[in-house]
């Protein structure tokens, strides 16, 4: 208990003192996770919608694949990404391993199935007749999609939150592909793990608290968008 209180004080000191290192680690964490969330939202929502609205051979197989993707452990994704990005790996020419871009790639791979799966089920929950009704009022296909997303905005934003939650809390893949390099690829989760193994429990707890505050802040913004128009 003393340790947690100590951690709270330490967190306060680090934040109030605008500790340059903590600030840059936090900023990088936000940059990386928001970028990964944005990319996986674009890919996941588009692909999830495509699967939800279309009939094609192997559809059930694809849905099963997406649902499996939602449960793949991040370390496995990290391992595969590392092997691909190695100097002598398939994508070695890009020289991306141990860069923030590598973390983004791994996190996109983790979050996309999540966003895709939830998008798929939320679009499927809207009756087919609703789509027809929107079209029957003269909507183009694009306008129909707009109304569809508007109608499914609660679960869709939940999908984005789930994607964001899975990447900001993720540590295994980030360490593997990012390498926890100081000032370069060190993010809050990997820094927390490192400080823990260094025995700097108070700093570790402080980093954990900052991580939770950031997570809460982003989710709060998303929830605001999600819950808009519910008050009346």
């Amino acid at each position: 208990m003393d340790l947690i209180i100590e951690g709270l004080f330490q967190a306060f000191r680090l934040i109030a003192g605008l500790d340059a290192e903590v600030f840059s680690v936090s900023l990088l964490t936000l940059q990386v996770t928001l970028m990964a969330t944005l990319i996986s939202t674009v890919i996941g929502v588009a692909a999830g919608t495509a699967v939800a609205l279309n009939e094609f051979p192997g559809r059930t197989f694809t849905v099963g694949l997406i649902n499996t993707g939602m449960g793949v452990p991040p370390v496995v994704v990290g391992l595969i990404t590392t092997v691909l990005l190695w100097r002598h790996g398939v994508l070695g020419r890009l020289e991306l391993l141990y860069t923030p871009s590598a973390i983004i790639i791994a996190q996109v791979l983790i979050a996309t199935p999540m966003v895709m799966g939830i998008t798929l089920s939320s679009i499927q929950q809207i009756p087919r007749a609703f789509r027809l009704q929107v079209m029957a009022l003269g909507a183009s296909r694009f306008q129909m999609l707009w109304y569809l997303y508007r109608e499914a905005r609660l679960p869709l934003l939940a999908a984005i939150m789930a994607g964001f939650g899975s990447v900001i809390s993720e540590v295994g893949a980030s360490i593997m592909v990012g390498g926890n390099i100081r000032g370069h690829t060190r993010v809050l989760t990997t820094a927390t793990v490192m400080e823990t193994s260094r025995g700097n429990f108070d700093t570790a707890i402080a980093l954990g608290i900052i991580l939770m505050v950031l997570t809460y802040a982003v989710n709060y913004i998303l929830s605001r968008i999600q819950q808009r128009g519910r008050q009346r």
């Binding site: 009704q133 929107v134 029957a136 009022l137 003269g138 909507a139 508007r150």
Partner: protein, 366 residues
């Protein structure tokens, strides 16, 4: 009242997922017409409406809109923007009533004051003006239907398609909505295609009826034509001819003919050859029941003694089935049933006019 064709469909065929098909040779709706597509559930009414609305690609056939052919293979966006459709379920957005009614208008890029006044106008017409700020999901069934109809009509479509818009509502709600809709439709005018399985609703609202069965239009025409001269036994049964007797023409006269069925002779106005097999339809409300067999001096040319086999309370009337050598159905008002003491097993006299018997062709394939 009838201008040119607003929409005409020819040779329209659709296969849907369950291999059910509609097969429409020629169906058209004229300016200002209210065309009722009537038929049982599953007869293909919804599929037909979806095909007409450009929401289900027909497998073959042509559509022409105000004389110009519609490209049924394209996205049909331009065609769809000219009409609107309301479904059996209200299918409202998770948004306010205002947003719902504004939906079609916003799709058409209407904004600002113009949008607001149009939405308010149609909400007012459908008596939901006081609900504009309510969330759609808090509405009652009847209110939701009103909003759905206001939404479809607010865009002032060239053609309005309605799929069972009044079904599965409780009776008073449905009556009030029917009344209001009737008034609005007459006031605004406009061309409407209405699919319904309720013949009373169809007779009340429509200027033309088209009876649909198993994907085909069996008969179309003015409501009185269809009701009084059903083209075959299916239409007859559907429009409310409860008694259909198979008979043989025994004797042709100048005024009509006598047909024999179950050992009795029925006088019919109309033309038939002697010896021909015919179907005779008798509407139950045109059958009069009495206890005595003294019906002389009336114009009721047909009178038969029969035994009541069954009475069913239908609410506004009793449905009485008799055996007069052939089965005959009559509707009797509750007070008459009391006065006459009608019950199962009682022998009574049933009478009807010669003109009340309709000569009905046999349904193809039956």
């Amino acid at each position: 009242m009838t201008g040119g064709f607003v929409l005409r469909a020819e040779g329209l065929r659709v296969w849907n997922e369950r291999n059910f098909r509609i097969d429409i040779d020629d169906l058209s709706v004229r300016e200002g017409e209210v065309l009722g597509i009537i038929g049982h559930n599953g007869s293909g009414k919804t599929t037909l409406l979806l095909a007409l609305a450009g929401l289900k690609k027909p497998d073959c056939g042509t559509l022409s809109f105000r004389g110009a052919p519609v490209d049924i293979h394209g996205p049909m966006t331009e065609y769809r923007s000219r009409l609107s459709m309301a479904f059996q379920e209200p299918l409202l957005l998770h948004a306010t009533v205002f947003d719902n009614v504004a939906m079609g208008l916003r799709i058409r890029k209407m904004r600002g004051r113009e949008l607001r006044s149009r939405v308010e106008e149609y909400c007012g017409l459908f008596n939901v003006g006081h609900l504009v700020k309510r969330q759609a999901r808090t509405l009652s069934g009847g209110e939701a239907r009103r909003v759905s109809l206001a939404r479809a009509m607010a865009i002032r479509p060239d053609l309005l398609l309605l799929d069972e818009p009044f079904s599965s509502l409780d009776l008073p709600t449905r009556d009030a909505l029917l009344n209001d809709f009737d008034g609005i439709a007459k006031k605004i005018g406009g061309t409407i295609i209405l699919a319904t399985h309720d013949r009373v609703e169809a007779m009340r609202l429509c200027t033309t009826l088209a009876v649909m069965n198993a994907g085909k239009i069996i008969q179309s025409g003015a409501p009185s034509e269809v009701i009084n001269g059903p083209a075959d036994e299916f239409v007859a049964a559907f429009v409310g001819v409860e008694t259909i007797i198979e008979a043989r023409v025994a004797e042709a006269t100048s005024a009509g003919f006598f047909a024999e069925a179950g050992g009795v002779r029925i006088e019919v106005t109309g033309e038939a050859r002697e010896g021909e097999s015919v179907l005779l339809g008798i509407r139950p409300e045109q059958v009069v029941l009495s206890l005595s067999d003294n019906l002389c001096g009336t114009s009721l040319r047909n009178a038969f003694r029969g035994v009541i086999t069954r009475t069913v309370n239908m609410g506004p009337h009793h449905r009485v089935t008799l055996d007069c050598g052939f089965p005959l159905v009559a509707y009797v008002a509750p007070h008459s049933k009391e006065e006459l003491g009608l019950r199962e097993g009682l022998e009574v006299t049933a009478a009807f006019k010669a003109t009340a018997v309709h000569l009905v062709r046999k349904s193809a394939g039956k």
